[in-house]
Subunit: 140 residues, 2 copies
């Protein structure tokens, strides 16, 4: 990288449509994770600074690739979700919508109820009825 | 996809930094290819309309993925390269610069000279001296 481009909302949406993931984890502990993977770590550090949350770590499954991660429900609800509500995605719009609903359920504690757990499972699979799995993703 | 987002230069740069490739093909026929891969074909058709060139085809190596391709030297030189000169990339800035130089060499016919071929090989590998290969990519 010769120079650092200034991150704009549109640039971030394009990057996330390309390399972002909205995970709904349906294990014993229900939680959600927003991730963006990239080889050059600089752009991920820029993202971290832009959103003012999350962390950057190496991704062990692909050599040299790092990942920006936000998994705090509070930060997802207060920073990540409002950003993508204001700046809509194109490719991952559906994944984001299901993710946002799952975060909302967890944020208000409804994931502790049988109904909330069922709803999270259906959001994860993108269908109304599904068999429970231990983990997975709704991202393309 | 619930709605089609309007493509902006910044969005395209983010998407290309995530999923774009700048190929320099150093076989018997020297040529360059710009590609963007995505599962939902709609965004690729939007890209094709935005740039007013190239084509969209299925990518046979990954199920359900399509690719937007521009390989006409004239269209690369007149449409793709000026776009990314005006709207710089962040992650793939170096790959793009080498690609742009290779397109320039091919566009003016200098790839038919020994010096031009050597230069294309060095641009492809990103180093000044390299062993000739039949194909490859400069993209991350």
């Amino acid at each position: 990288m010769k120079e650092l481009r200034v991150l704009t909302p549109d640039y971030i949406c394009g990057l996330v449509d390309g390399e972002g993931c909205f995970y709904i984890l349906d294990g014993q502990r229900k939680c959600c994770e927003f991730q963006v993977s990239q080889k050059p770590v600089a752009v991920l550090l820029e993202l971290k600074a832009y959103f003012g949350c999350g962390y950057v770590k190496p991704k062990y499954d692909r050599s040299g690739t790092s990942v920006f991660v936000v998994k705090s429900t509070k930060e997802l609800a207060c920073k990540i979700i409002p950003f993508f509500r204001k700046n809509p995605l194109l490719v991952k719009a559906d994944s984001f919508e299901r993710f946002a609903k799952a975060v909302e359920i967890i944020a208000c504690g409804a994931h502790r109820t049988a109904q909330g757990q069922k709803k999270i499972r259906s959001l994860k699979s993108g269908t109304s009825e599904t068999i429970r799995q231990t983990s997975g993703t709704v991202s393309e």
